[in-house]
């Protein structure tokens, strides 16, 4: 799969229907080619600027209140109060395939033109692997979490994935209990290393198989996970502050 990436000139399979519709290298283009390793050539923006191109035809089903395409050049003064837009089902060949494979464990949805799927915790390692290997989601944009203390499964963990080949961005979301751990996705995407560390740092969610799971932004000995909802905004690890900074309070 990385073969597509290594050759920069090979255009992504989709999202680039007409490669050369405009003028080549304008005079203000790259001049500094003294040793010539930078070339500027011209790429047309895709004709259709949907957030999810061809593969993901957005179903304009409910109420048409949610404009499907974020970049739609509509008059700006559109009324900003649509009646509580709700996520709509998301349909695409990829999703159909996943659905066929995993059944009810996967719930693909679209909201504000953005596709995501809620995946059962047990399916997470497999789905991520499949997305990476078969569906070319080779770039893990972000891993993060959201805390819902009132829910039974307290945490949403979200992977934001992007595929260079399809020019498509999706989110994978799962719900886990407090204290439950997740398999690390470092073997799938190396970038997950720090991102998972940050999630661990901020939420206390453990990732099994992570090579070096420790705090990243907060000091090592810190107690508590600041981005949990039960952690107050002024709260801090007073003990740590007193020991390490020698002051009563950091605030």
């Amino acid at each position: 799969m990385p073969d597509d990436i290594k050759s920069p000139s090979s255009p992504p399979p989709e999202g680039e229907p007409k490669p050369t519709a405009d003028k080549p290298a304008a005079p203000s283009g790259v001049k500094a080619t003294a040793s010539g390793s930078v070339q500027a050539d011209v790429k047309t923006p895709p004709e259709k600027d949907k957030a999810s191109p061809a593969t993901a035809p957005v179903p304009p089903k409910p109420a048409a209140a949610a404009p499907a395409t974020p970049q739609a050049t509509k008059p700006a003064a559109a009324p900003a109060k649509p009646a509580a837009p709700a996520p709509t089902p998301w349909d695409s060949p990829m999703v159909a395939k996943l659905k066929a494979g995993y059944g009810s464990g996967v719930e693909p949805l679209t909201y504000a033109g953005q596709n995501y799927m809620i995946v059962d915790r047990s399916l997470i390692p497999e789905i991520l692997q499949v997305l990476r290997n078969e569906d070319q989601f080779d770039y893990c944009v972000d891993i993060t979490a959201v805390h819902y203390p009132q829910r039974e499964k307290q945490f949403d963990v979200i992977w934001v994935l992007y595929s260079f080949a399809r020019n498509e961005r999706i989110r994978v979301k799962t719900q886990i209990l407090d204290g439950e751990s997740l398999p690390s996705s470092v073997p799938i995407w190396a970038t997950a290393n720090w991102l998972e560390r940050e999630v661990y740092d901020m939420f206390g969610i453990k990732f099994d198989g992570h090579p070096d799971l420790k705090r990243i932004l907060l000091p090592d000995g810190w107690k508590g996970y600041p981005l949990r909802k039960d952690y107050g905004i002024l709260q801090q690890d007073n003990e740590w502050v007193q020991i390490n900074l020698g002051i009563e309070s950091g605030q």
Binding site: P2, P85, Y111, L217
Partner: protein, 384 residues
């Protein structure tokens, strides 16, 4: 997939190489107070002589809990906070945040606002690249470019100052459009700047591009392959210099970038020199974009109709823009109240910094400085 992973399999910190003549490994701590780490970055280097065996970044010295603050402020109140992350490209941060909230609110900024946003963000991209060039050259030992770039960056900051009164943390945009109408003579100022700035890029390049020492210090230094870049999630000029022609402005156009004609410069080798050339070319492209935007600046309202008290419907949105340093993403969860339930910032510097270890393996200690410089990190954004 196997390919990418095999290239990564030799990235683990323990390189099993037998030491020669019982040479002791030297562990050196760089930072957090160090002139070349661009802030409070701490790097722990494992050296064999001057050769880097591996390194570990220790970050968080500038952690201010921006994401936590976001949960306790209304959508409007949080807007100025994002400027404090990547403080050299504050306008880009603001743009990303505003657009994300606009998506949640389902509004769109009017065309005039979009144009001005593009102008200001691209000016900001130039300013950010200028600051990068100056400090990067300074790290490699050329002092003079720093003063040249700061002299010219000043002109951009003057435009900001005239527009919104602030120079660095501008808070230039409002959710739904702009904070202020442009001042009289804004177009003229911008055009003057472009005419002033175009020859200046040549001036920078004259000092460095063909300078033999510069070539020796940057060519083949800190190489990173496209596959590694993607696996490590590296974006922005670093990714492009490795040969991947990917720019969010083209791939998933936001604001109204699709109306403008510009190129994506890419490199071939993914080394420090290519990253330098890519950024220099990007400045020229930014000049092109600004020129088109100023010429086609439409009249009209500058802010869409947004409610005074913003209560986006419950839902979540991830939106990202091409900040000067790479993909800057915001993931905002709304629960229908006036405050975001969760704000997640996907900082380009943070993710790019992860590649430092890969890029520095086997290089010399002096190159670590060059590579930190070429990654163009801002610690305010890394630590948030």
């Amino acid at each position: 997939m196997t390919d990418a992973n095999s290239s990564l399999s030799n990235l683990d910190l323990e390189t099993p190489e037998k030491p020669f003549l019982d040479a002791n490994e030297l562990v050196i701590n760089m930072g957090p107070q160090h002139p070349a780490t661009h802030g409070v970055l701490r790097v722990i280097l494992r050296l064999d002589g001057e050769k880097v065996l591996g390194l570990e970044c220790v970050i968080g010295y500038l952690h201010r809990g921006v994401e936590k603050i976001g949960e306790h402020r209304t959508y409007t109140m949080f807007n100025p906070y994002v400027d404090r992350m990547d403080y050299v490209a504050a306008v880009s941060n603001g743009l990303g945040y505003c657009e994300t909230v606009e998506k949640l609110l389902n509004v769109e900024a009017p065309p005039r606002a979009q144009h001005v946003r593009v102008i200001l963000t691209e000016l900001n991209r130039i300013a950010s690249h200028q600051l990068w060039l100056g400090t990067h050259a300074l790290d490699i030992g050329a002092i003079t470019p720093l003063f040249y770039t700061f002299r010219d960056r000043e002109e951009i900051l003057k435009i900001y100052e005239k527009y919104c009164g602030a120079r660095l943390t501008t808070h230039a945009f409002r959710i739904g459009g702009l904070q202020y109408e442009t001042y009289a003579g804004f177009e003229k100022d911008v055009k003057n700047f472009l005419n002033f700035f175009r020859p200046k890029i040549d001036e920078y390049e004259e000092l460095l591009t063909t300078n033999r020492i510069w070539l020796e210090r940057t060519k083949n230094i800190g190489r990173i392959s496209a596959a590694d870049c993607i696996a490590l999630g590296v974006t922005g000029p670093v990714l492009r210099a490795s040969g991947v022609k990917w720019d969010l402005r083209k791939a998933q156009p936001y604001a109204n970038y699709k109306n403008f004609d510009f190129d994506i410069p890419t490199g071939l080798n993914g080394d420090t020199y290519d990253r330098y050339l890519v950024r220099m070319a990007e400045m020229r492209q930014s000049v092109r974009i600004i020129e088109q935007a100023v010429d086609a600046l439409p009249e009209g309202p500058i802010i869409a109709k947004v409610p005074k008290v913003m209560k986006p419907a419950a839902g979540e949105v991830y939106h990202s823009i091409e900040a000067p340093k790479g993909e800057l993403g915001y993931f905002i969860v709304s629960d229908g109240s006036t405050q975001p339930y969760r704000v997640r910032v996907r900082p380009p510097s943070f993710v790019n910094l992860q590649a430092l270890d890969v890029m520095c393996r086997g290089q010399l200690m002096a190159d670590v400085i060059a590579v930190i410089g070429t990654l163009d990190i801002v610690l305010g954004e890394v630590d948030r």
